[in-house]
């Protein structure tokens, strides 16, 4: 197992940069002359990159023995989360749409 200081510092600085970038877009959504929907998409993509940064640089589970078990349960959890969150939003929005008269 390798435990490097440099990767922690890289992770810390990139996480701060990503947070400040997302914050800047939240308070000035019109700065890059994009509409609100695009601004929302951009900060969500920034959050996904940020979560990858945390997974790679801070959550050390990938270096342990049994890498395949750990990543296997992680991927299946992400699939369950996708099913719960995406389909809840989808179903409720369609319910809402179909009930408006």
């Amino acid at each position: 197992m390798e435990h490097k200081l440099a990767s922690r510092i890289t992770g810390f600085i990139s996480s701060l940069v990503l947070t400040l970038a997302a914050y800047f877009i939240i308070i000035n959504p019109n700065f890059f002359s994009v509409d609100i929907k695009t601004a929302v998409l951009i900060i969500f993509i920034l959050a996904l990159i940020q979560s990858l940064v945390q997974l790679v640089f801070f959550i050390d589970i990938w270096k342990e023995e049994g890498f395949l078990w750990n990543i296997g349960i992680f991927i299946s959890t992400v699939s369950i989360i996708f099913i719960i969150v995406f389909f809840s939003i989808w179903i409720i929005n369609h319910l809402n749409y179909n009930m408006v008269t």
């Binding site: 922690r8 959050a47 342990e64």
Partner: protein
């Protein structure tokens, strides 16, 4: 008979589970916790607009304090990883210093979050006001509860480092505590973006 049970419970005879098995078990727990958070996120996103004539996200959220909370939590994640590095290098004093710093940052985070909650309640925006606020307090409150547990665990681990030798199974325990703390940071990223960011924009 009595002698046999004495042997079974004495320290030498206890067969430790391999550390990797414990880490895997803890990882499975964290993943189920992630599913709980996912359900609460789905709930919040669905109920976000149902303010029942009460204050909206835009009226309530104080973004600078949320940014402060986020930066504090990211920094605490960094100091926690430095503490873990010190543990791996057998530097007890540095490990305690870094974990103590992490503890202080976590306590500062919790303080800001609770004063934000108190502020909302004083404005009449408690969890009873609307479906939006119920789902908001449930999601962010569950995260805050996890932070509280993480802080308690960190205190226990600081005593553990101070009083016990840093053998393999101790390191594995401290590693699991650090994993928990990074996991809370991971969840907060999505609270920052989905609850505060998208809640403010849309």
């Amino acid at each position: 008979m009595e002698e046999a049970s004495d042997v079974a419970f004495s320290d030498a005879a206890v067969i430790e589970e391999p550390s990797d098995t414990k880490v895997f078990g803890f990882w499975v727990y964290l993943m189920t916790d992630l599913v709980i958070f996912a359900a609460l996120f789905a709930c919040f996103i669905v109920l976000r607009g149902n303010t029942f004539g009460g204050p909206t996200a835009r009226d309530l959220f104080n973004l600078p304090s949320v940014l402060a909370e986020t930066i504090i939590l990211l920094t605490s994640s960094f100091t926690c990883s430095l503490g873990m590095l010190a543990v791996h290098r057998q530097m007890k004093n540095w490990a305690i210093i870094w974990f103590f710093l992490t503890f202080l940052l976590g306590a500062a985070f919790l303080y800001i979050e609770l004063s934000e909650f108190a502020d909302f309640v004083n404005q009449g925006a408690s969890w009873q006001r609307s479906a939006f606020l119920s789902s908001f307090f449930t999601l962010v409150g569950t995260h805050g509860f996890h932070i509280t547990i993480g802080l308690l665990w960190m205190v226990v681990m600081m005593f553990h480092i101070a009083l016990r030798p840093l053998k393999e199974h101790s390191i594995s325990r401290i590693f699991r505590m650090a994993l928990f703390w990074h996991f809370l940071d991971f969840v907060w990223i999505f609270i920052f973006t989905v609850v505060y960011g998208i809640g403010y924009l849309l």
